[in-house]
């Protein structure tokens, strides 16, 4: 019997496709997410909008909070660790979390190195802003990628920028001749073998979700039409006026992302979405997406 293989890690990510992963901070929210049809929940102490407001150093959540959420739902539970903080990851693996997000939403623990994710039997998801960053994380063992967007803003503009960057670069690579691959690998600062794989497959070799600023069903469907395999919704659900309604509407919007009639139906009378932030008012130091490389 073999456990912790790369196929088992990427396989779990494949099972999440077409789904919505929701940030939750307690058992009650986790139940709301599960009942609405979420494929997984991200267990946190605070949603990104509150992390942004609170300032200070943001760290891995208290394991007791994560365990409470694990006990409340039957769907997979994810949790975040700081970039490079492999001991936080060891702790999450020990308590049995199903997926670890090495996340820029928390304050980085290492500004030069990400976690060597091959060493773990639990799968990792990592953020990216472009194809090079995605392939570096996959090279380190990430079993799933999400575009970063700008978490906690309720503003989809950065998520769109990052998804367009990744998908555009993939389209460019599929048209390359074999001898051009090394040149592109050099430009992207990405492993040669993975660039080659992208050319063969015409997509990333692992599942790619969208994240960071998705606040409405239309935002979620937009990311799907741009090529996402699914979406993470952080503050968008539990910072809205009616979380159960928003949660359900976003789940439906992702499953029917290419059907405007369904999108119109699920967008009606949802109440106020989370209040958004104009990303342009944020200073460079306040941007989460620039954490990690």
């Amino acid at each position: 019997m073999e456990k912790g293989s790369y196929r088992l890690k990427t396989g779990l990510a494949e099972m999440l496709k077409g789904g919505v992963i929701m940030d939750v901070t307690n058992a009650e929210q986790a139940k709301i997410a599960e009942d609405a049809g979420a494929v997984s929940v991200m267990a946190l102490e605070r949603v990104p909008a509150d992390i942004r407001a609170a300032g200070g150093v943001a760290r891995m959540a208290d394991p007791a909070i994560i365990e409470e959420i694990m006990g409340a739902v039957s769907i997979p539970v994810m949790a975040k660790v700081r970039i490079g903080h492999f001991v936080e990851a060891q702790i999450l693996e020990a308590i049995g979390v199903d997926f670890i997000d090495e996340s820029e939403v928390l304050t980085p623990a290492d500004e030069e190195h990400h976690i060597d994710k091959h060493k773990f039997s639990v799968p990792f998801v990592c953020g990216c802003r472009n194809l090079g960053e995605a392939l570096r994380r996959i090279g380190e063992g990430a079993a799933m990628i999400r575009t970063k967007g700008e978490a906690g803003t309720g503003n989809v503009v950065e998520a769109v920028r990052h998804m367009r960057a990744v998908m555009g670069e993939i389209r460019r690579i599929t048209s390359l001749s074999d001898e051009e691959i090394m040149k592109v690998a050099k430009e992207l600062q990405a492993p040669y073998e993975l660039v080659k794989k992208v050319k063969e497959l015409g997509r990333l070799p692992v599942v790619n979700f969208a994240a960071g600023g998705i606040a409405t069903p239309a935002d979620a469907a937009l990311m799907m039409q741009l090529g996402a395999d699914g979406v993470f919704v952080g503050s968008g659900i539990f910072k809205s006026e009616n979380p159960p309604l928003y949660a359900k509407a976003i789940v439906e919007a992702v499953a029917h992302y290419d059907d405007p009639d369904v999108l119109a139906r699920v967008s009606r009378r949802l109440g106020q979405p989370m209040k958004g932030l104009d990303v342009k008012v944020l200073s460079q130091e306040e941007l989460l997406q620039v954490r990690g490389w």
């Binding site: 196929r7 088992l8 779990l12 494949e14 099972m15 039957s74 039997s121 799968p123 499953a255």
Partner: protein, 192 residues
């Protein structure tokens, strides 16, 4: 031959590719009108709570049941198996009740207990690599259910007339023998 893969959520692409590798052609389906025209349907792996919710809310329960009772072969993997089952432990998930088995969700534990191993499948000359991800367990099978493979004594691949189901994911391997078995069920159903 029109084969559909139920496409609300889960590893739809992998099943479509596996069917193609096995020599067939499959397409994603979501609506009742599409299902009524199919010769075969696959319910993929994914999150059973999510997929079951869509089947119920989109009114696909009766169209799928009607097709299966008129002889259309159906195949469920992992979450798909749970959705086919007659009974799900603790009634945790809505199910179609077209396969006479009882199942327990996430029976092996969390993701860290997910595993791969060789399994013996009836009629296959060499072992099959079973990929079990947060897999369910078949705890009881009805008298009409044929067990085609067991792992640690428990059924992992079962067939009841035109209903095929596995607790593991053949679509995540390059071994297309189980998808070929499903195609042969469809061939058989069209001849009869």
């Amino acid at each position: 031959m029109r084969i559909g893969v139920l496409a609300f959520q889960g590893d739809v692409r992998e099943h479509i590719q596996a069917i193609e590798k096995a020599g067939g052609k499959a397409m994603p389906v979501k609506r009742a009108v599409e299902i009524s025209k199919l010769d075969g349907l696959i319910i993929p792996g994914g999150e059973s709570t999510t997929i079951a919710r869509f089947i119920k809310e989109e009114g696909l329960t009766e169209p799928i049941r009607a097709q299966v009772s008129s002889g259309m072969p159906i195949y469920g993997t992992c979450a798909g198996l749970i959705i086919l089952a007659r009974r799900v432990e603790n009634n945790a998930v809505f199910s179609l009740k077209i396969l006479d088995v009882e199942v327990k969700r996430n029976a092996y534990g969390r993701q860290r207990e997910s595993f791969e191993d060789e399994i013996e499948v009836e009629g296959f000359e060499t072992p099959y690599r079973g990929v079990f991800i947060r897999a369910p367990l078949i705890s009881k099978v009805g008298p009409q259910v044929k067990v085609l493979a067991r792992y640690q004594g428990k059924p992992v691949l079962v067939l009841e007339k035109n209903v095929l189901a596995s607790t593991f994911h053949p679509e995540l391997t390059s071994d297309d023998r189980i998808h070929r078995l499903f195609l042969s069920l469809i061939d058989g159903s069209k001849k009869s």
